[in-house]
Symmetry: C2
Subunit: 210 residues, 2 copies
């Protein structure tokens, strides 16, 4: 639980070009973001450093601060990129009738985790969030605003936010046991079998049939 | 993902006293185990070392090997201790009628995570398992044999093992979002409210009502 790179005082952003800007210019921001994602994935939030990100991107550390601010904000930018494939979840709930919402959400969300290309960046974030409170807070805020609030907005009845989270909990638990812990037979089960067994439960939470 | 402490060749265990045994004697094994739990909790599986455990326990590293074997086996011993409070889960399913099995399992499992005394050691294991494949394998084997196989043994119908895991997935997801990510309103919701909303789902998986 270290926050070595957290500023002691607020860091003003975009206050003009840093003194040394070698490696800046078009594409520098994207290069830094790519380097940050790799640095967080390899070392986790705790051990990742602005210096390491700057070195991998071939820029001065001041340029990293210039574009993104402190480490926490670079991590937030990296999380946003990794989460992009999952952001279709609220649309999966909304499009089509309420009858099939649970199945659509289940198939969409678990599908994002089936493909290693979309899974690995999400796993990297999850590792950082489990290991570090600051990373967990960044992840929590983005999940709350980009996913849970939007899913809840498509539901009817009481406690829409809590019910969205309980539906998500069923799916997050499947992901944990299938892709992180690797518990059999869940880890090797056919996706359609898992969808068939899980969708009714997700639907139950979304519809609040009590 | 380092295995620095994994032996290149199998390490024979209990082949007699190591050369230096200062700090050994009655209680040494328990002292080493306590030091190992603290070391894994503080540094995670990757960074924990036999040397660090030995130092904290006040014994020679050879004595750590003597009692436990390689790092992987010390971790397994530490996981077993941390998991002890959760091992009542299969009994919670078995005792009483099948009607209330979902509610009993839900209340028991979530209850273990409500108390910081039992929660923190489990969170420490979870962090190691999410970050490291070897730690995940150790955790997986113990969860499979000590929990899932025994819960499944109390169920009837097809796919008892998969259904046990899907029930557990709902509960693990609640724990992740309530205690690890801290997503509101789930993080602050009354436990009884969560039990009321989750138990029917757990029961659905355990009973395979399709």
């Amino acid at each position: 639980m270290t926050d070595d790179d957290a500023p002691r005082t607020p860091v003003p952003r975009r206050r003009g070009r840093p003194a040394r800007t070698e490696g800046s210019g078009p594409g520098a921001r994207e290069r830094i973001l790519g380097a940050a994602r790799a640095e967080f994935a390899e070392h986790g939030y705790d051990k990742a450093s602005i210096r390491g990100i700057a070195k991998a991107a071939g820029v001065d550390p001041a340029l990293v601060h210039h574009y993104f601010g402190p480490k926490e904000q670079i991590f937030a930018a990296a999380v946003e990129v990794a989460m992009t494939p999952a952001l279709g979840a609220p649309d999966a709930v909304a499009e089509g009738g309420p009858e099939g919402a649970g199945e659509r959400l289940t198939r969409f969300f678990l599908g994002v985790w089936e493909d290693p290309v979309t899974r690995e960046p999400l796993l990297a974030i999850l590792r950082s969030a489990v290991a570090n409170r600051t990373a967990a807070a960044v992840f929590r805020d983005l999940v709350a605003t980009r996913l849970m609030a939007r899913v809840a907005g498509h539901l009817e009845g009481p406690d829409t936010r809590l019910r969205s989270e309980l539906a998500a909990a069923q799916l997050v638990g499947v992901v944990m046991m299938r892709h992180v812990i690797g518990l059999e037979p869940l880890a090797s089960a056919d996706l359609e079998e898992i969808v068939a067994a899980t969708a009714p439960v997700v639907q139950h939470h979304l519809r609040a049939e009590t």
